[in-house]
Amino acid sequence: MTVKKINGNVPQGDIKNIWEDHKFKSKLVNPSNKRKYNVIVVGTGLAGASAAATLAELGYHIKSFCIQDSPRRAHSIAAQGGINAAKNYPNDGDSIWRLFYDTVKGGDYRSREANVYRLASVANNIIDQAAAQGVPFARDYGGYLANRSFGGAQVSRTFYARGQTGQQLLLGAYSSLMKEVSKGKIELFTRREMIDLVLVNGKTRGIIVRNIITGEIERYAADAVLLCTGGYGNTYYLSTNAMASNASAAFRAYKKGAYFANPCFTQIHPTCIPVHGENQSKLTLMSESLRNDGRVWVPEAKGDKRPPNEIPDEERDYYLERIYPSFGNLVPRDVASRNAKNQIDAGKGVGVTGVAVYLDFRDAIKRDGVDTIKAKYGNLFDMYERITDENPYQVPMKIYPAVHYTMGGLWVDYNLMSNVPGLFVLGEANFSDHGANRLGASALMQGLADGYFVIPYTLGNYLATDKTHLDSVTTDQKEFEEAESIATEKIQTLLNINGSRTVDDFHKELGHIMWEHVGMSRNESGLKTAIEEIKKLRAEFWKDVKVTGMNENINLELEKANRVADFLELGELMARDALERKESAGGHFREESQTEENEAKRDDDNFCHVAAWEFNGVDTDPIRNIEELSFTNVALTQRSYK
């Protein structure tokens, strides 16, 4: 099979000037012509809300869709810790170049350099924009913006609003979106789920959605579609994602021809509250900012069941500080997670289940006092206590890694456009900026960079070049007709199976397979097993799932079934990608590829590329296309946080 090489369309030139030059060379849409264009934005998280608001301000006519009852509820809202920007307000040596460098290195050299540089260079504007919207960032006593440090960086560049930075940034973007709704520039469609993408003459011209309240299948046409639908962490069933977070919009686009890039790059976050039992429905993350003051440890001795406060210091192993003296507890997420797993595997896990490590604030409280710690992390400590019934001011927290973020996603070029013309992908749903591992406080940065500062230019260039609006497309065309009838048929099939196992039952089993074989540590035989098991489970799903109720009403089981059907295909694709990437990189750890010190070992000779998967039929192997990555500004080195 010949490997197709795809091109990221990165303009040539000095990386520092590429974006400015590109903006200048991009075609503009005349202000009075903008109102002639219809743009669909799916999702109202940071990427979707910021894009919809900004494009509406420019004059485009926007249709904005979300699953929840209000655009304010998208899962960006749950991000706690902060947002990075290289303002260098603390005067500690930060710069755009350093933010760029840290992000490329943190991503283990599997991101696209030019995209990351652009991200770093617009980050400062995001802080300004959010502050102007009334986002109540933390301030110091002089009234200036406060910063804190985060994993993977040696400077303090993270802006925050207590432990609710995602909420505040999202509400800022949401308020801008509602401002445009009130002007009639944005039409808002809540409680709608996208179930297919519609192409006309090879170009993206609309979507099919299901109205979650009435069950009606609705058609919408546009000149371009922006998918801002988040990541696919819920393939694992248990994750820190919201319950409705799903991959269906992106996956349906994949099945219509859009490439899915690096699906195996998933991030397992090191500081989550451990699993309590089989009925657990989701995992709760504790912000990584806790690692600024908390110290991670396990008992020196295997199976030490003494309460933590009775274990003296000399019998504790502060393993991150020991192994990584220069970064200590602030190593990147993938490194922290893998080390926690190593300790558990060595029999040193703590708590009733033995599947947890300690995160201890005893020394920080002794040093700074309870009040200071409370001011910094009060809401996180309260949340921890509410869930576990233990007081972290008195006993160390117990933490364990959990699936949190997906770096992979739909393939996009430098303009954030997929290989399908007119289909743009923003935020976590795309793949381009975080490589194989995302640094903390960079997700909010990327979602807003894409929406506020990138898409307004690149979409304009597409519309001005393509003149799509000149061929009028209406929703009664056969392409819409066909997409709708396929969707309707699928829904009927699901409702008619009337088998014996619930949707959640299938989803949990898929989650077990994924966590076991496509989790923190992966190997060839495990991945092959996963592929076989998922195929079997998928076949069983279509024979034996039980979906109660009917389509023409609120039917939460039907919604879940539709999503799980996609996860059952995507899970296989993730395993397949992990199998083919015979190197370790960031969050993707292949046991066959490690250094003598058990750190992830990349294979730059063979895998310094993006794997962009092309759909080829449900039970046929997909095609692995590649985009070569070149690193001319940040030299390829083995990451070291020692």
Binding site: I77, D128, V181, I213, H276, S281, T548, E557
Partner: protein, 256 residues
């Protein structure tokens, strides 16, 4: 993580309503083997799994993040919005707060402006309409100056953040005998009125948001403070006083 060997048996009385037009009724369920470490919504998941296996229609309820921040979950639990625990959303309420043999009554948030859509799901889009009426600073992308050119006193920034912590769940409305939305509206008005950015629109904002609130059928405030007591984010009732002050000032000025 404690108590996970003990399990509870519960009697549930749950509001069932087919759709917006249906009259609705309370149905009784018995649920055995509930773990105290489960969240309230995980308990409902467990009930639903049982109902589905029996071929019955599961109970529809709103939920999403399950970590107390999205504001999607709701429920009146034994007559209290989000249940008995202070400053806790339903999704963060754990079954260890209940006892073996308890009877739990579960109803939707009720208010004229929040019509029931099915079972425990209500339509809260009225809140979005209120925000659209003025709950924003009119700054287009690209207009912003450097964030540090506008210092904000730490006290005001903190007070603003206290108000901004609102998750828009509607517990305040559901627990108010007048179904007033004043805590919700005042939280947004306060967040923005405590900051220098957006002062230019302050008067128009408060008038427009309050008028929209009235128009949508929310009631007035009669100082019962049920909203504050039921707010999962601890939004302070003094925000309502601030909003009233702003509203009065704005009204007086606009008459001049």
């Amino acid at each position: 993580m404690r108590n996970n060997t003990v399990s509870m048996n519960l009697n549930l009385k749950i509001w069932r309503q087919k759709d917006g037009k249906d009259k609705g009724f309370i149905e009784d369920y018995r649920l055995d083997g509930v773990s105290p470490d489960m969240s309230f919504l995980e308990m409902l998941d467990m009930l639903n799994e049982t109902l589905i296996r029996e071929g019955k229609d599961p109970v529809a309820f709103d939920h999403d993040c399950r970590e107390g921040i999205c504001g999607m979950c709701s429920l009146m639990i034994n007559g209290q919005s989000h249940g008995p625990e202070a400053e806790t959303t339903t999704c963060q309420l754990h079954m260890r707060k209940f006892k073996n043999g308890d009877t739990i009554v579960i109803e939707p948030f009720r208010a004229k402006a929040f019509p029931v859509l099915k079972d425990l799901i209500v339509d809260r889009s009225a809140f979005d309409e209120i925000i659209a009426a003025g709950g924003y600073v009119s700054v287009n992308t690209g207009n912003a100056q450097d964030a540090n050119t506008l210092p904000i006193s730490k006290i005001n920034a903190e007070l603003s953040m206290d108000a901004a912590a609102c998750i828009g769940c509607g517990a305040c409305v559901a627990s108010c005998k007048n179904a007033s939305a004043m805590l919700f509206v005042s939280a947004k008005v306060s967040q923005l009125s405590l900051l220098p950015q957006g002062q230019i629109e302050a008067e128009a904002r408060v008038q427009s948001m309050v008028n929209k609130m009235d128009e949508l059928g929310f009631g007035n405030c009669t100082n019962e403070a049920e909203c504050e007591a039921s707010c999962p984010k601890g939004i302070d009732i003094s925000n309502i006083a601030r909003m009233n002050r702003e509203y009065l000032t704005a009204s007086v000025k606009s008459q001049e």
